[in-house]
């Protein structure tokens, strides 16, 4: 036998080398461990509503459990009645007129993101990612063999990318623009004019748009979510919309999302899904059917609570020296810059990076935030306000007390 053979366990395919450990998870895991150990930690890491799934949806799911037809395989692309209801809901909520044949039901919005990229990208194809971005995008692009290209936005521009920035990043290989408004992690919401301008630019250059609308119903203070293929109807042929029940109905754990696109794209993505995972768990699909066929009362209530917390949080954050947070208008995140704190000293440590500062904040103040490194922009924190008002105030107060010591 040759001696050059490595242990089987060390053999990993090249495409995995491209996927970074999800940085959001690292802090989260530490915070969870501390909590489990009984420490008093205020967690601002949550990527999900702190509300329960509405009772009517739970009741629909419970009723579905015992029905043997839900115990069996169903069509890989989703229950026909759910696809139909999603088409109807889409018309109702964003005004985008689509048919059930343009819908693929997925294991959360996350699977929809991956499948859209996997269907569209060939090795070497570039995807423009306005940064800061949700960590999953570059990971999914790489898994699909594509190349993520960051287009960095800053707090000065309210984290809203411009046509000029996109144009500067465009190359012959640019295949897709990732579009997420309202944004995770910044909470930025593009204006209808901005959406239109960017849509027209994509249309003109034959660039596909992957529009992630998962936070469509979480907008505040007069901001408005508009769907890109509605504002630029000609874009429909080169646009894939991603959405899901997770954020709107507090249904993150149920794992139901969908993608909407041209029929041929949806067919190809459905084909992929039929091999990779097949149908989404049926009871979840029935629950999602109840959700999207119902009214938007629950999300209206969540929105009111989030709006109140948002205002508290952004005000309190901006009172901290060295912290600068533009007002978020959507989702449930604040994304302050902490760049002014870099280079200073805090409790004997020189602050080198937001990642290191986040660890310090967890250790010294018992507050868990996600560092900007996780979103492609070091020098920032993401704080979720999907938590109770009292905890929110307690946590930001602790943060303020600690960071005020930086000198």
């Amino acid at each position: 036998m040759t001696e050059t053979v490595s242990a089987p366990s060390r053999r990993v395919s090249a495409r995995i080398g491209g996927i970074a450990e999800s940085a959001t998870l690292a802090v989260d895991a530490k915070a969870k461990a501390k909590k489990a150990a009984g420490e008093d930690v205020v967690g601002f890491g949550a990527g999900e509503p702190d509300f329960p799934t509405p009772a009517a949806i739970v009741a629909a799911a419970v009723a579905a459990c015992a029905d043997p037809k839900n115990h069996r395989y169903t069509p890989a692309g989703g229950l026909p009645e759910l696809k139909e209801a999603i088409a109807v809901k889409t018309r109702r909520d964003s005004g985008y007129a689509v048919t059930a044949g343009q819908v693929l039901v997925t294991n959360g919005g996350k699977q929809a993101v991956y499948e859209a990229f996997a269907t569209l990208l060939d090795p070497g194809d570039e995807v423009l990612l306005p940064a800061p971005y949700w960590t999953t995008y570059p990971e999914a692009v790489k898994l699909a063999g594509g190349v993520p290209v960051d287009v960095v936005t800053t707090e000065d521009q309210g984290y809203r990318v411009t046509v000029e920035q996109l144009e500067a990043a465009r190359t012959e290989r640019t295949k897709v623009l990732l579009w997420c408004s309202p944004s995770n992690p910044t909470g930025a919401v593009a204006s209808p004019q901005e959406v239109e301008a960017i849509g027209r630019w994509a249309l003109e250059h034959g660039i596909w748009v992957l529009a992630d609308e998962i936070y469509e119903h979480l907008v505040y203070g007069g901001a408005e979510h508009v769907s890109m293929p509605v504002v630029v109807p000609e874009l429909a042929d080169q646009c894939v919309v991603v959405n899901g029940v997770a954020k709107t109905y507090a249904m993150t754990g149920w794992r139901v999302g969908w993608l909407i696109g041209p029929v041929d794209v949806v067919k190809a993505a459905t084909n992929l899904q039929s091999h990779a995972t097949s149908n989404v768990s049926n009871v979840s699909q029935v629950a999602a059917l109840a959700a999207v066929s119902g009214d938007l009362e629950a999300v209206a209530q969540m929105r009111a609570a989030f709006d109140r917390r948002r205002q508290t949080m952004v005000r309190m954050l901006n009172e901290i020296p060295g912290v600068d947070c533009p007002e978020p208008h959507g989702a449930f995140y604040c994304y302050p810059s902490v760049r002014a704190l870099l280079g200073k000293t805090l409790r004997g440590h020189r602050i080198e990076s937001s990642a290191q500062l986040a660890e310090l904040v967890l250790e010294e103040a018992g507050v868990a935030v996600v560092p900007g490194e996780a979103f492609g922009t070091p020098g920032y924190f993401r704080l979720s306000y999907a938590l109770g008002d009292a905890d929110l105030e307690k946590g930001v107060t602790r943060l303020k007390e600690l960071l005020s010591e930086a000198a």
Binding site: M1, P8, V12, S13, I16, N107, K110, E115, A118
Partner: protein, 379 residues
């Protein structure tokens, strides 16, 4: 805009042996299905209802419910003597996602992946998605492994994929066969993906030897399992992977990028199923055994069909004596009112075969076999 699907998806679409699933005319008796015809056992259903009510509605652990992973690890450790922990386990979106993620995580473009066949068609699809090079190796006529051919094919292979018990033949590879495979692989860095979806559906009270129990396979083993078949949970979508921590870590990267976590409540129900164990499914197993015996007795009397008795799973892979190409056989049968799966879907040596599923009631089997007999007699 002119949409052109990605090369990877195109490869899968072109190479896949799986049919698109055409419509069956009304009145067709289907012996084509790959899933139990029983409802999920009640204690599992009740566990799901409880979990949903108890608020398992938030994001769960991306690698799978920690308690479920620990339980799976304990079972695997007991079988193997390897001290697996929850970190060696990934709970997946069915066995399908376990297979896809495992292959994407380990197979580079151009890598050789050996597929003893006939075998389950999804492996080929996943290898195509990864850009690997599938190498089919026909089994012996009795559906057991042909080690001469295997040995030759395994040279420089990155992976071999073993379905055991075999879908579609019902063959069960025993301890000696697995040990011999271990010897073939010894000293190489070839991985073994062992898919034991039907491990608890084995007949005549025969013990089943899992690849987990074979020492010489341990270091290269990616063990894939699903709740679908044993517990009649196909629509619930829970499977899992057990492997060396380093391998599991890379499979996890792929799986969570494709799927995030899977349904939180369903995993609680899966935990209940695993705690109660395959005894829960004993009535189903007894029914499959009765049906297998019935199907074999019928086939033995047919002039134009012959089959080896399956020792596991719920399929008979029958050889037919006719010159018609596979697609026409399937068409004739469908015209005669019965749906089965075509042999070549499971690899080139499936030519001249059909797969009958006996996850169907005895009445349905009787009618289906009557129709099959009539069609072949009329050829």
């Amino acid at each position: 805009m002119l949409f052109r699907q990605s090369q990877a998806i195109e490869r899968v679409a072109r190479a896949s042996l799986r049919p698109a699933g055409g419509l069956q005319p009304p009145g067709t008796v289907s012996l084509a299905q790959g899933e139990p015809d029983f409802p999920t056992p009640e204690p599992i259903v009740e566990a799901l209802e409880r979990a949903v009510r108890d608020g398992y509605t938030r994001y769960g652990d991306m690698d799978g419910d920690p308690e479920l992973r620990e339980t799976i690890a304990e079972n695997a450790a007991r079988l193997s003597g390897t001290p697996y922990t929850g970190r060696s386990v990934l709970v997946s979106h069915g066995g399908a996602a376990a297979i896809t993620a495992a292959i994407l995580a380990t197979v580079n473009p151009g890598d050789r992946v050996v597929l003893p066949e006939p075998t389950y068609s999804l492996y080929l699809d996943a290898v195509q998605l990864a850009g690997g090079q599938p190498v089919f190796v026909p089994n012996h006529a009795d559906h057991h492994l042909d080690f001469d051919r295997l040995q030759a094919a395994l040279d420089q292979a990155r992976m071999v994929v073993l379905c055991n018990p075999v879908n579609p033949t019902g063959a069960v590879f025993g301890r000696e066969e697995l040990q011999r495979l271990g010897e073939c692989l010894s000293g190489t860095d070839t991985l073994l993906l062992a898919d034991e979806a039907y491990a608890d559906i084995v007949y005549d009270g025969q013990p089943f030897t899992s690849s987990l129990e074979v020492d010489s396979l341990q270091e290269r083993l990616i063990y894939v399992q699903t709740m679908s078949k044993t517990y009649a949970m196909t629509g619930w979508r829970v499977g899992y992977v057990v492997a060396d921590e380093a391998i599991t870590a890379s499979i996890r990267h792929v799986h969570r990028t494709m799927n995030s976590s899977i349904n939180a409540a369903v995993q609680r129900a899966a935990l209940e199923a695993i705690r109660l164990g395959p005894d829960l499914a004993a009535p189903m197993l007894a029914a499959y055994q009765e049906r297998r015996d019935y199907v074999m007795a019928r086939i033995d009397k047919m002039e134009r069909l012959e089959a080896h008795q399956p020792d596991g799973a719920f399929y008979v892979f029958a050889r037919h004596f006719s010159d018609l190409p596979a697609s026409q056989v399937i068409e004739r049968l469908l015209a005669g009112g019965v749906a089965v799966r075509s042999g070549p879907e499971f690899g080139p040596s499936g030519e001249g075969h059909i797969r009958l599923s006996y996850a169907a009631s005895l009445e349905k089997l009787e009618e289906g076999l009557n129709r099959i007999e009539a069609v072949f007699d009329g050829l």
